[in-house]
Amino acid sequence: MKRIITFIVTILVLSGVMAVSSPGLLDKVRLGLDLKGGFEILYEAQPIEAGQKVTTESLNQTAKSLEKRANVLGTSEPEVTTEGANRIRLKIAGVTDEAEVRKKMKEPANLTFRSANGCKDATDFCKIELLGSDFKENGAEVRYNTLNQPEISITVKDKAKFAEVTKRLIGKELGIYLDETQLSAPVVNSELTDGNASITGNYTMEEANTIRDTINLGALPLKLTEKYSQSVGATLGKQSLDKTIQAGLIASAFILIFMIGMYRLPGILASFALILHTWLLILVFVAADFTLTLPGIAAFILGIGMAVDANIITNERIREEMRNGRSVMSAVKLGNKSSFRTILDSNITTIIVAGVMFAYGTGAVKGFALVLIVEIVLSIATNVYFSHFLLTLLVKAGLLKKPKQFGVKESEIRAL
């Protein structure tokens, strides 16, 4: 009696928790770009000056600046990650004007201060004296000068370097360039030792603010080239999501019907374990803040197929023991025990493959592998331990005592 109550309470509580939490949980699953639209770009970073190296620091710095820019542009949840030694992956969802964002992201790549030192022409600013990376992050400010005109003050990182440049260029022009556009070309009046400089010109306040923002954002230490890009329209993403979920539901329904038809009561228990498995997977996704992508859903559905395998192995094993003439109790016990090792071995080999996919894959492949790994671990918890637990409870409670309830015909049973 106690066991029946335990069984019923377990089922009811879990069903209740799943039913109540599912709608909220599903809403919280973070969808990938392929499911909600957006774009992803993989940049390769190169040093702005030839011969220099891309350091981890400069790469991280660049990634940070990119993220800042994306935020300034008002995009929702930009995701910027560095990859390997010189790559940055950028993901932005729900952008209406993609081209604009893309352009802005890498546009002010080169803030340079140039002199005409050794150039053919005095107006030909060919020598780069200072780079955007020489200026302090967020160091640019707009203020009013004595003539009540807006000017932009900037701060350099290395005072000595700036002093040296300005000393050398006294009386000469120092061109301030954003890529190939000259912002201003002030004449250096004196050696600047405090590391501050100001850009003056006939700017309106608005212009000055734009230049300031550009300089602040423009301190990209590295040059970026697009190596891979994927952009998905929002409608298309939604379409893929709906279609794939629909396919998943049909497949799942088929699998559950198959399990119940094949294994009767244990099949129902297995189906319950499968539903629990799916719910836990979604829970893990939300808790760990994973992003669900289309290949992820594929792994999800196929993983259910694989979880079914664990149930089939166990149930077939139990049936086999029964056909060999064992009692229901000992058949379940033996079946659970010997199927466990098989399931573990077969699942670990799949984890090895998934682990390699995770290590060597990028983007979609990584997501797929991650879902597969999580699923296998969860599958062992739910479709092995939990399934066994429920089955043993019922058998011990005396509710499952006839081989027929396992789909085994009396005529198939032979003497031990």
Partner: protein, 300 residues
């Protein structure tokens, strides 16, 4: 124990070996003559998928491309309310923009999916895929070698390489597009194939423990018995996963269609190879050991 009429899986394996060898040769010829139809992931270029409210034809799209000055050799594949354009060159931002604007003029509700891969990147993806397959194999050899023995590992690897190769062959013959997701599918097939093989091997190992196999015939009987015991499980599992993959293929999103198709093909080969290739191959390896060490037969 009562004797039940059992199917002689090992006996018929020579026919299946022949079939597999023929298929492998066909595959090698096919791959070396036609190669694979690489998607944008591996060949560099841009792939544009457009979902529209009405059917667009190539004839409608062609002039647009011409006007923008791109895609002289682009392949345009119209579908039901969608159209795919595959460029061999990498679309730059302006071209990308121009294309979108032009298509939106034709159909206001058009939705786009654009993938662009740089040549260098494409090469790297391909290289990583090969590494992934090789490292998976090594991992499996190590694990199976420790948990079972090297003969099982070798037979399992043979079967999984066979399955992966068969899927690649089918894709080569039917000119289906091979992209990054396809590689994922192949790796997953490897995962399933090994899963299926291990379950059967596990039974062989278990039966070995309780038997005294002395001759080649003893091993054949034992493997046949094991496979017969596991055949239902193998079929059921293959069926359930097959159905899942098949429904994904039929109803799933466009971008995982090829993935699902590869899975469907791979699952069939996976179930087949575990029974008709891996197990008989293990018999072959095991018998060799027996003739050398007939005096020490019980070692597993």
């Amino acid at each position: 124990m009562r004797f039940k009429k059992e199917f002689d899986f090992v006996g018929v394996s020579k026919y299946f070996y022949t079939i597999s060898i023929i298929l492998t040769i066909v595959g090698i010829i096919c791959l070396s003559v036609f190669g694979l139809n690489y998607g944008v992931d591996f060949r560099a270029g841009s792939n544009v998928d457009i979902s529209t409210s009405k059917a667009l034809t190539s004839a409608e799209v062609q002039p647009i491309l011409k006007e923008i000055g791109i895609g002289e050799d682009a392949s345009i594949t119209p579908g039901d309310k969608r159209i795919n354009i595959r460029f061999t060159e990498v679309l730059n931002e302006d071209q990308d923009h121009a294309l979108k604007a032009a298509i939106l003029k034709l159909d206001k509700t058009a939705s786009f999916e654009i993938n662009t891969v740089d040549t260098e990147m494409a090469k790297e993806l391909g290289r990583n895929a090969i590494y992934a397959v090789l490292i998976s194999c090594i991992g499996i050899i190590i694990y199976v070698g420790i948990r079972f023995e090297w003969r099982f590992a070798l037979a399992a690897i043979l079967a999984l390489l066979h399955d992966a190769f068969m899927v690649i062959t089918v894709f080569s013959i039917f000119r289906l597009e091979v992209d990054l997701i396809f590689i994922t599918a192949v790796l997953t097939i490897i995962g399933y194939s090994i899963n299926d093989t291990i379950v059967i091997f596990d039974r062989i190992r278990e039966n070995l423990r309780f038997s005294k196999t002395k001759t080649h015939d003893d091993i054949v009987v034992l493997v046949n018995k094991s496979v017969n015991q596991m055949i239902l499980r193998s079929l059921y599992t293959a069926l359930t996963v097959f159905i899942a993959a098949f429904f994904l293929y039929l109803f799933g999103g466009e971008s995982i269609k090829m993935f699902s198709l590869a899975m469907v093909i791979g699952l069939v080969f996976g179930a087949y190879s575990s029974i008709f290739i891996a197990s008989p191959f293990w018999v072959l390896l095991k018998s060799k050991q027996k003739t050398q060490k007939a005096s020490n037969p019980s070692k597993v």
